[in-house]
Amino acid sequence: MYALKFVMWCGELFYALVDGAADFFCHVARFCRLFGSIVARLPLLFKNVVISVEQMYAIGVESLPLVTVIAVFTGATTVTQAVYQFSGFVPMKYLGTAVCKTLVTEIGPVFTSMVIAGRISTAIAAEIGSMKVGEQLDAMSCLNLDSVRYLFAPKTVACVVMVPVLVVFAELVAFVSSIFTVLFSVKVTLYVYLTGLRLFFNPSSMLIGVAKTAVFGAIIAMTGCYFGLQTKGGAEGVGTSTTKAVMASCVLILVADFLIALLTL
């Protein structure tokens, strides 16, 4: 009897795993298809540059206040934590080096991208989801207007362009913030800190750090578009889509960061 139950349980587990795997690969295939269709429409964007510029403004300029606040505290926290960890073990002349490496390679790009994902991918998912629920996407199709060309591709391009810009801006703000933190709350002279900053600074690592945020930008826009398109039902469906979009974009940013780190070793 127990053996039979065990076999049944194993069967159900196997079925659930296969079902889940099929569902996962189905999502991956659709996501890739969306990516392909966006890439195919890129040449057409030059005919509607205004739409892309509007999206860049909405995604880039309107995100500045949030990014600034986050960057200020990121810089300050990095310095404070580094001082705490270094105390008694590492000479303080390396403080600037540690902060620079951390901000330029990981904290700056990844943290800023995840914060932008929280704002932008949810906004895109909510917008596309509301349009889907309100039949606006169907209305576009009825008017022979390609939603990929007029909605998804401009948003993706805007994110790919603006996320690196925001990251560079955030890193600058974080450095300034870290300098003020050093000046007012840490017993390290400005000269020592700035010397440390320059000590092992490698422009290529900064370039890689900024370049990978273009990939993060594409991930942010596409997860928003994809989960917006998957919206079903009413307001509740839109809420579910936005949650899924932000979760997926954060996970994919970390996965992409790991893969890029492996490739650039």
Binding site: G134, E135, A139, S141, L143, L145
Partner: protein
């Protein structure tokens, strides 16, 4: 061969502009459309009615190419535009000939009214900005919106205005066929009337062909040249508004009268009941009725009541139906009359020819009465020799004539005795109208019975109308 399609086309009849043939659609395991066949001629307005979730909008989405059918095909001007083997991208060529007004208008929230209307023009035409602005103004005027609306955002508009802007957006591309998805749902009666007026004016001014999905039956009566009713994925009726009013199909009558319960009896023989709506599967409907709610007609639940006599409502059901009809008549300001009739001299007939013959007379007269009324009327057997007819939408001026015609027909009805004699049984009728003097079933029945008593006193085989 499909029985829904005509065997031949009359030489004078124009060829259909749009044909939907054997359309099928599943959502998962659920069959949403099951062998839907419809035709739309140029300049015609076809209304598709049915309950919410019945698949009406799904038909429109197939016509406009938003959905690919699982079976069947859609033909526009003898060219197949949609079928399971056609890709949605193939549809782009013909989509310009079709326009659609969505439920809620589906305006682009981030754009102003003017930008909404201009969007398709900017992308598909080479008009200059000035020309586009003038087309937008013209389109807004056509739908009854004055200048100044171009700069408003969709969120600033009322439901009716949004519908108009949605219509203007669809019209700027000059479609041949306009599809409307619930254009008047959630609108007040005045705005509903304006939208209906607009649909009619587009047909008159632009000879536009329209397919309207609605569950607003009064709007359908107002605008439709043809009405099709969908039920459980099938088209169960297709005909003119007059034909749908006259149909005896119980479900259709329940729907068009907005009744909570299904009071109408189902006739034993399909050909008696179906009449104009030949597509109805009466057997299936009866089975559904028999297995369904207790509110359904008793006759449909009981096989033994397949006899004609059993088509009459019984006393309890009669009271319920009469109450409903009186309420309906007051609500819609439509006349409702009650005629009560007694068989003259039934006791003497029974005494002379036996009780069994008396029962036969009652049964035969009941059947004759039932078969003689319109699909929208009701007949009831109140007990022994007394019957009642609920006459809906009967002009009060013609009430006497109408009932007298029934009386005359009944007096010519011959019943043969076991001995082979031919007997004619006459009826005395008393009629009363539901009005402020008879606002409920009890009073109306009392008035009709008083009039019937008067008819008997005044010499039998006659009609008396109760006057206030």
């Amino acid at each position: 061969m499909d029985k829904n399609l005509p065997l031949y086309a009359a030489p004078s009849a124009p060829a259909p502009l749009l044909r939907i043939e054997h359309l099928k659609k599943h959502f998962g395991n659920q069959l949403v459309l099951d062998d839907v066949n419809l035709e739309l001629r140029k300049g015609e307005i076809l209304c598709i009615i049915g309950q919410s979730g019945g698949g009406k909008s799904v038909i429109l989405k197939h016509v406009i190419g938003l959905m690919i059918p699982d079976g069947g095909r859609i033909v526009l001007d003898n060219e197949e535009i949609s079928s399971p083997v056609k890709r949605s991208s193939d549809f782009n060529k013909v989509r310009g000939r079709l326009g659609m007004l969505f439920q809620g208008a589906a305006l682009f929230d981030s754009k102003t009214v003017g930008e909404n209307i201009a969007f398709p023009l900017r992308e598909h035409t080479k008009y200059s900005n000035d020309e586009i602005a003038s087309i937008v103004t013209e389109a807004l005027e056509m739908v009854g919106l004055k200048q100044g609306f171009q700069h408003k955002m969709p969120s600033e508009l009322s439901g009716g205005m949004r519908s108009r802007v949605g219509l203007a957006r669809a019209l700027v591309m000059k479609p041949e066929i306009m599809l409307y998805d619930e254009p008047t749902s959630a609108l007040d009666p005045i705005m509903t009337d304006k939208i209906n007026e607009l649909i009619l004016s587009l047909r008159d001014k632009l000879a536009m062909t329209s397919m309207v999905v609605t569950h607003d039956i009064s709007s359908a009566y107002r605008i439709a040249d043809k009405i099709a009713m969908i039920y459980e994925g099938k088209i169960i009726f297709s005909g003119t508004p007059a034909e749908i009013r006259a149909t005896r199909n119980p479900y259709i009558q329940q729907f068009i009268r907005g009744q909570r319960k299904l009071h109408y009896a189902v006739s034993a023989a399909p050909e008696e009941s179906v009449g104009l709506d030949q597509q109805v599967d009466v057997g299936a409907l009866k089975q559904r009725l028999a297995g369904g709610s207790r509110a359904f007609s008793r006759r449909a639940q009981d096989q033994s009541e397949r006899e004609s006599h059993a088509k009459l409502l019984d006393g309890a059901k009669f009271s319920e139906v009469l109450e409903d009809e009186i309420e309906h008549s007051f609500r819609n300001q439509e006349p409702c009359a009650l005629a009560v009739c007694d068989i003259d001299g039934l006791a003497a007939l029974s005494a002379e020819h036996g009780e069994a013959f008396g029962d036969t007379v009652v049964r035969e007269i009941g059947a004759k009465l039932f078969n003689g009324i319109r699909g929208t009327d009701f007949a009831a057997h109140l007990g022994s020799d007394e019957f009642a007819l609920i006459l809906t939408k009967t002009d009060p001026g013609n009430l006497f004539k109408t009932v007298d015609r029934i009386r005359e027909r009944m007096s010519a009805f011959v019943i043969r005795t076991q001995k082979g004699e031919n007997i004619t049984a006459t009826l005395s009728f008393g009629v009363a109208m539901a009005d402020e003097h008879a606002p409920d079933a009890e009073t109306l029945l009392l008035h009709a019975r008083e009039a019937c008593g008067l008819a008997k006193t005044n010499g039998r085989n006659r009609v008396e109308v109760k006057t206030a």
